[in-house]
Every structure is written in C-alpha cells, then in structure tokens.
Symmetry: C4
Subunit: 264 residues, 4 copies
C-alpha cells in the first residue's frame, strides 16, 4: 500500500525538477498530484524551489488545502490553486502553477494563446484568461484565499490551461507525465507564436487538427519517448534521482508530523 504513495511523492518531485530543468519553473511555481488512493487529498511539496524538491518534502493536503498531519514546515502560500481545482475538476489528477518566461508576454498583454503547431495543440482550442483584480481588487496577486482559488478554477472551466493576468499560468492533466508534456509544449507553442507574430500572419491549427493533435500526448511511443528524454536530461544535469540517490532519499523520508528541518 505504501508503494503507490511513495511512487506518487517521487513523481511529484520529478515533475517539479523536470519542469525546472527545462526552464519552465525558477524559484517559484509548484507541481501537485491527486493522492493515488484518496481523491479527497492531494500531494504538494513544502515551500521550496521546485528544482530542489525531494520526495520527502511532499506533504498531504485535504481539498481545503490544510495539511492532513500537523506540520511546522513553511507551506506554499498559493496551495489553494491546487485544492480548489481538485474540488472543481474530478477528472484532474495533476496541477502545475508557473510563471514560465514563454507565457509571460501573453499573461501581460492578454494576447490569446492559440495552437500554432501540432504539439502545441496540447493546450487545447481555448485558453481562458483570468484577472484576479476583477473580483478581488488590489491584492499582491498571489492566489491565497480559498475564494481566489475557486474563482481561478471557475475561469479554468473545462480547459487544460488558464492564463493569469500579470502573474503566470496554471495547467492541469490526467497524470504527472501528461502534465509535464502539456506544460513544456504549451510553452514551446507560446515561444513560437510570439516569434511568428513578429514575423508574419499567424493562423492557428484547424479545429479538427487541434482535436486530433491534442491527443498526441496519449500515444504510447510519444509518452515513452518524452519521459525517458526529460528524465535523462535531468540526470545528466546532475540534479536527478539516480537509483542510488533515490534509495538513499527514500530511507530519509520524514514521518508526517515530524517537524524538525533537516540539516543541509
């Protein structure tokens, strides 16, 4: 029974590290997964830069974004993004919030993001735009109150990705691997669209193409290939989980409620 949870913690850590290694996340942003056995819980790291997240940093939350076990760790202020989306979208098994440089020009100007190449279709035909100011007025733009998270979840609706005015983006998927694929290739799409608009006239994929190409990340020879590739790049960067390190790390996973910070 413990194995599925161990694996899920490790995938959350890997998802964080891969997206940092591929330039999507920096000191900020976070990846979560729904609990593998309890759909009313989700898994998210303590407050820490994504590329440093280890399986032992991953904390269980209920859908109101309270830690299931008491903890003195510093927590992400914006964890309600995850909790409120898991509430609103039973189909969603993984969530990422990020400020990827590729997306920011779209988040700042409100320019619609549209699929401009086949792999970019993973973003979906419709990427909504949410402005926290509309409903909440002056804030520090962090999504910290449950009602702010719920508002963002409503804006997301049934889409795969929502842009957040002058802040960043949030994406969802059916598992961590699909989430990483969606996030990396929606960022590539944003980069290509940005450059294409500077060069000439941009017409998005046809609606039927978006539907068909949007399913590419479910093809077995696509997911196998991409996951092996990103994992290997992470290993080669010197920041991955080698089997030896994983073994060593797993044995150091802290028991819930044990609050002393590890020495580093």
């Amino acid at each position: 029974m413990a194995d599925a949870l161990d694996k899920a913690r490790e995938e959350v850590a890997l998802g964080n590290r891969i997206l940092a290694n591929e330039g999507v996340l920096d000191a900020f942003g976070h990846v979560s997964a729904r609990h593998p056995r309890d759909p009313k819980r989700y898994l998210l790291s303590r407050s820490r830069a994504p590329e440093l997240v280890e399986p032992g940093d991953v904390i269980e939350y209920d859908l109101d974004s309270n830690p299931v076990n008491p903890t003195n760790e510093k927590l992400y202020a914006e964890r309600v993004i995850h909790g409120e989306i898991y509430k609103a979208r039973p189909d969603v098994m993984a969530v990422v919030h990020h400020h990827a440089p590729a997306m920011m020009p779209f988040c700042i100007t409100g320019t619609p993001l549209v699929p401009v190449f086949h792999l970019g279709a993973t973003a979906g035909a419709n990427v909504p735009f949410w402005d926290q100011y509309d409903e909440f007025g002056d804030t520090n733009l962090l999504v910290v109150k449950p009602e702010e998270g719920a508002s963002l979840a409503r804006a997301l609706g049934k889409s795969n990705l929502v842009l957040m005015n002058r802040h960043g983006a949030t994406a969802v998927a059916s598992d961590i691997q699909a989430l990483v694929f969606r996030t990396i290739y929606s960022c590539r799409n944003a980069e290509f669209q940005f450059q294409a608009q500077a060069l000439g006239t941009v017409t998005p994929l046809h609606r039927g193409e978006i539907e068909r190409a949007g399913a590419l990340n479910a093809m077995a020879n696509v997911t196998t290939r991409t996951w092996e590739y990103w994992t290997m790049r992470l290993e080669r960067s010197g920041n991955g989980f080698s089997p030896a390190r994983k073994q060593r790390r797993r044995s150091k996973v802290r028991k819930p409620g044990k609050t002393k910070r590890r020495k580093r």
Copy 2:
C-alpha cells in the same frame, strides 16, 4: 562487410546526437541514412529521443518503411517521411525530420526562407512549403501514411529542404555529415533572417552567390573542421561516443529480431 553497416549505424546515432546537442532536435525528430550496401533499405532508430539514440537502436527498413526483420520495438510513426523520400530521390543518402525552434516561425507563417549569409546557402535557392491539410484535410499533422510521405516528397522535389505548415521541416543530403552541416546552418540562416527582418530590409544572396556558397560544405577544410567541432562538443557535453564507450556499446548491439528491451 559488417563494418560498413556498423559504421552507418554509428553515424546515424551520431547525427541524431549532434543535432540534439546543437539545439535542432528535442524529444522529437529523427535522422536516417540509406543502407550503405542496399539502396532499397534505410537505417533509422527505434522510437526514442534523438539525443539518446545508440547504434544498437538503429533498425533496417525497406522503402515501404516496414522493418526488414520483425521487431517488437516501438517505431517512429513518421518513418514514411524517410522511406518515401528515399524512393523519390535516388541521389539522397540521408534524411532528417525536425521541429527546430529556428524554423518554426517560418513554418507557422509561411514566410519564405531565403539564404541571407554564405553558409545559409546550403539550404538552396528554393525552399518549398508543404501543407498536409491541402491534400488530407484534418489530421494530427503527423506524416504517417505512405501517401502523406509521398506527397511531402513531391513537394520537396529536387530541393534540399522543405518546410511543413505548422509542423516542422525535412532536409536531405548526400551523407550524414553534409546533412548535419545543412541542418545546422539552415537553422542559423533562419535565425539571422528572422532577426534581420525585424531590424531592416533583407535581400538574399545573388543567385550566383547561392550556387557558389552552396557548395562550401563540400570543401575538405570545411567538412573536416565542422565534423571535428560538433563531435568534440558532443563529447564535452558528456553525451558522446568515446572510443571506450563505442567499444562497449558495439558489443551490446542487439541482433535483429531480438526484441527484449535492455535495462537502463
């Protein structure tokens, strides 16, 4: 006899890795070579990210893109790009399909790619543009049917490079080394053209300059220099084939038809 084939497998693996190392290929794209002894066969890796391809991953295909020996490996869905071009172009000995970031703004907008500096002349005076939708309507944009590959080969015609609408590009050459040169410097040309169009007015090389400069990659002190350079950079990246590793790898080349996946 086996040596020419071993060398060709290794060159296919090297071509994949170099183009990944130089930022042309990511998780996707693939490099092939015509079989060194049988012009009715070609060599292409099993489905795998290009920077991970090893000589032992390279599979023999007939020109209808069926594996010569039965295999349970995952195969590239788009291998017909290679087979149909080898059919249509007896002069072509190496093919690459890629989604290089440098090319994508041109693939998305249909802006003509023209040679803007001497090394960019390797792309040729005329780079055709192909849209899968014109002939096949809504697809996922992958080139998977023989007739789709044949249509692309027709669009390529006698050119060196063809752009594919909202998808990527495909280039051909007389051997792997010339293919790598053409691919890297046509991408550089795309980058420079993109920036030059943002800065001022672009006029391409004169027709006579294109012809003369287009032959540079056949000069002995050019090919020697570039191949040594890209190979050395690959070695220094930690992802190359050192003689020791090559030796080790060669001894592990799987026999055709042997389908068990190696542990990694």
Copy 3:
C-alpha cells in the same frame, strides 16, 4: 565581534557570485554592503570580475570611498556610486551597480520601466532615469568623481532602482538577500516588459497591487526559498562556496594593509 564582519564579507562575495551566475553581472558590476557595525563604512571587493570575488577580496571603505586601510590593490573606479548612496540613504544597507542585458534596451532608449508582473513590483512604482551628460558633459560614462556619485544618488532619491543613460543601472535594498531578489526580478520584469511591448499593449500593475506585491520579498517563505535556490544553483555551477571551501578560504583572508597579490 569578528563574526559579523566575516559573515558580511561572505555575503558580499555570495551576492556578487549569485548575480553573475544568474546572468545579471559579467566582467563588470559590483555588489556592496554597509558595514555591519559601523554605518559610516561599507564593504566592496577589490577590482575583480564579480563571479570571482572571494570574502578575502572585500575591502572596507569610508563613505568618501577611501579604503580604511592603505592598500595597493586595484580598486573599482566607480566605488563612489556606493559611497554616495550610503551617505544619502541611511536606510540602504546594500547596493549593486550592473549592466544587465535585460535592462540595457531601457537604459539606451529611455523607455520607462514599469512593473508588469507581481514579482517585478520589487522595482517600485517609479524607476528614475539619470543621464550623466546632463550635468557633466562628455565623460567616459564611468561614475568616478564624488560629485558624479552624488548626482546619481539624488536621481535615485527614495526609489529602489535608477537607470543610467547608455550605461546600466543601480539598485538598493535593506540587505544583500533582498538586493539579490530585487535585482533578479527587476531584470525578469524588464525582459517580460520588452517582449510584451513587442506582442501587444502593456498596462502596469495597479498602484495598490505594486505596493502589496512589492512587499513579497519580505515574506519568510519567499526569501528562504529564493536564497536556498540561488545558493544551490551557484554550488551546482561549480563556482560556489562549499563549507569546506569556505573554511579553507576564511583561513586565507588577508589582513588589511597586506598588499601582496595572491598567486592563483
């Protein structure tokens, strides 16, 4: 007593190295801190590229930018930037001068830098623009005379950051960690603003948002996270201070007035 000074020297060296590692500083630019016990002194490296600065390179200056102890080391020509700002701004505990590529298009064109995302609010609502030519006519643009430094300090006023025409930028903060945060995220803001202006219409954060988001770098789970992240990245780059190296280095800190250059 020596410990606070040792720690401050080390933070100055770390601040220099982190900003170099994150692409803000190159061969030029410098980070200083006010002396931890004597507000009439500040700490700045001898003339050296920032990513090479070691704690033992850090020299004590009075606020007229004269070394407190005689030295034969080469000194930064522009140290008056630091001294004159520490004079004019008793609240300022750390200063950086840099030519970050992200800022240069704004420094060259005089385009106003405005907060375009929440983390960019650290620059403040008003970023003044200073042109040395206005007051001093033809110079080599280096800020070397006390009156040039004083003029820049007046232009800075109560702001967090001042742009310098065709030269660079200077930023201030309440400590080195906040300075590094402000510098990195004001550069990110400049990059995003540059791209957003190319893509569409840019509207800055609302005034109330700037005030609230501008305080983010004082949140405990923000500063802990960012400093751990940048320090870890520096360590992984191979250019950091590991505990072992720090120990070794500290023992080699030169006594003030000892002027012989170390062999390297």
Copy 4:
C-alpha cells in the same frame, strides 16, 4: 628567444578559445597575432574550429599569407584577411574574423552599428560596411584572393571593425587581449542596439563620449579584470589551458615542417 613566440602561440590559441567560449565564434572564424619579433610575419592556426585550437596548431605566415615553412596541414581559405590587414595597418597587432550571431542582422541589412553604451564605444565612431560583390561580382563570399583581402583592408581603413555584407565581420586591435575585449563588447553593443531599436528610439553616445569611453579597454583595472574573467570562464568550461595541460601541450608542439597529423 623562443619564449616570446611560445607565448604568442599560446595567446592566439587562448584568444580563439575565449571567443568561442563567449559565443562569438563557432566552427568558423579565426584569430591571429602579428609575430612578436618579425612584423612581416603573422601567426594563425591550421584550419580548425577555434575552440579546439592548441598552441601547436599555430603556423607562421608571411604577409602574402604563405606558410613560412612548408606544411601539409589544411589551411584557412580566408587567411588573406589577416595578411592584407597586417600589410595595410602597421599599428595592428591582432586580427579576428568572425560570424558572430550578434552582428549578423547588421551584416545582412546594412543597418549602421553605432555605440549605444560605454563599453560598446570600443567599436569606434565609424564602422564601415563592405560588400565583396561590388568589386568581385558572384563569389562564394569567402575572402580567398589577395585582392579580395586588400579590398577589405581598404574598406576597414583606420577603423577598428568592418562589417561584411551577408558574411560577417573583421576586427583589429593592438594586442590579443584588447582584440578579445573589442570583439566581445562590440557584439554586446550589437545585441543591445538590436533590442533597443525594437523598443524605442536609439541615439548613439556623443562623439566626445565615444572617444573617452573607447579608451576604457586600456585602463589597467579593466584589462586585468576582463582577462582574468574570460580565462577563468574558459577554465571552468573544461576547455581551457590549465598549467598542467599547458605544460603537457607545450612539449607536444610540433616542429615546423613536420606534417604528420596527430592522432586524437
């Protein structure tokens, strides 16, 4: 007597490697120095990618660009660029020819390069533009004939840098260290000017500022700092000359006229 020449060979190799490491040179481009004792000779590597050049690769040429000692090595086709400039400009002690990405948009559009920040003043107030086609019609754009080199030298005139239409650039200086400084910061200037023109209106430095700032690379605390920085970065990249490696290499310097290619 041999020491000055050994040192010069090593500086030529270092100049090549530093400019490759800083992104100015790729597989192409070359750095030369005038012979330290004989102004009628210059030193240039055999045909090889710049980041691989070793002191033992450096060949002596007369000013007609013939090797002083017979050799079977492959030679750079464009060595007349160096020879003809050393003939025309007795003050020049070092020359580089390159296709730096930063310069290419200017080389392709003919947009004048102007100093937009203090360190960019090293390019000088006037950067001429040369088009090989004007005098020689259709070529492959390589500068291979003595008269082509002489034409380029005439276009350079008394300037520090000349742009070559749809090809690249050539810069000169009083020694290798000043050449490296000029080349890196003229490229930075090109990048900043390119971006500044996209963002707003660009006005260059005042004439008096260009003269004063143009002399910065002769200040002792500038040259010491930059050379230490670029050398250290090269060492850290794993591609430098450590004392041990230098020792080892020096002992392998080939005698002139000895033509067998080393095994690698």
